[in-house]
Symmetry: C2
Subunit: 203 residues, 2 copies
Amino acid sequence: MNKGKLYIVSGPSGSGKDTVVGLVMQKLGDESRISVSMTTRQPRGQEKEGVDYFYVSEESFLNNVEQGNMLEYARYGRYYYGTPKAPVEKWLEEGKVVFLVIEVNGGENIKKYFPDAEKIFILPPSLGVLEQRLRGRGTEDDDAVSRRMTIAREEIKRAVEYDYIIVNDLLDDAVNSVISIVEAQKLRTANMKNKISEVLENA
Amino acid sequence: MNKGKLYIVSGPSGSGKDTVVGLVMQKLGDESRISVSMTTRQPRGQEKEGVDYFYVSEESFLNNVEQGNMLEYARYGRYYYGTPKAPVEKWLEEGKVVFLVIEVNGGENIKKYFPDAEKIFILPPSLGVLEQRLRGRGTEDDDAVSRRMTIAREEIKRAVEYDYIIVNDLLDDAVNSVISIVEAQKLRTANMKNKISEVLENA
């Protein structure tokens, strides 16, 4: 069986990267998996263990880091966030299409572990639209929105480090773009060698 | 404007490569072009000048070869066949998606001129199906079919030299596979750099 493929997906807050990946996974069904992060913070609102995050104690988190179980991790404020290595390795071994939605900085470290991973950057159609989307959430005040916009500008400058860039203007188009990348990747000769032998050996 | 992209499409006789590319071009519309070969043989049946081939005299053909106007050429039996360079260069300059349906051998030379070209191999689902298709044409006797099958086996072995392999089992799937490759290619960061500046510069 062919090994699976890892897609690292990043984009500024408000780019819609989680929504895009969620819909792509619905289309791909059982052939796809998404990496769930580990965190030391408490669940908020509707969040669910194993869906939004794996919630662990700081001791357990740092233990995992020490034992080399994390692909990457970072501390934001008082809390740790990181990506467990084992599930991603298992899914790739099983031939799955694996998505990892992650901060721009986190992606670099992961590419070191998985050099074959493809990096996709989700770009908003414009900074104006991005700002509207952030305000539309209604969860953040003006200061928070303008801080996010500053970060967004810095992140967008780093889009050139990615393999693919998708503009999330119309959601359906963005979803289809990811699907095209996944489908094209499967047709790469390295993934189709078995098929050549199959055709030659079976009359 | 971004430069266009050249796709070299090969596959054994009976793989359906011409049909697949024809339908892909219908879907892509005006953004796509197909390279038309030049030949010294006479038009047959319904064939049309500039659609099936450019029909020229041997003198004119060899003149073009001498002047370096051909991407590749070969002699089959008494006739010359070749690929004119100028239209492909012009279309790429215009940003078009350009298809070149060509023998396995011809593809190599063209990749030397256009190293960015992507090579797609169209594979039949099995040798049995390929043989049925060739017989189904009703235009060739047993000897001709078995000669074509021998050539097909040799050509299929060289599919590993291609960038992408598409199995033409269900025609619609094969067409969509080519479309995925074309769409994914457009999303490559090298083709999207303008978009990054656009987003950063327009608030």
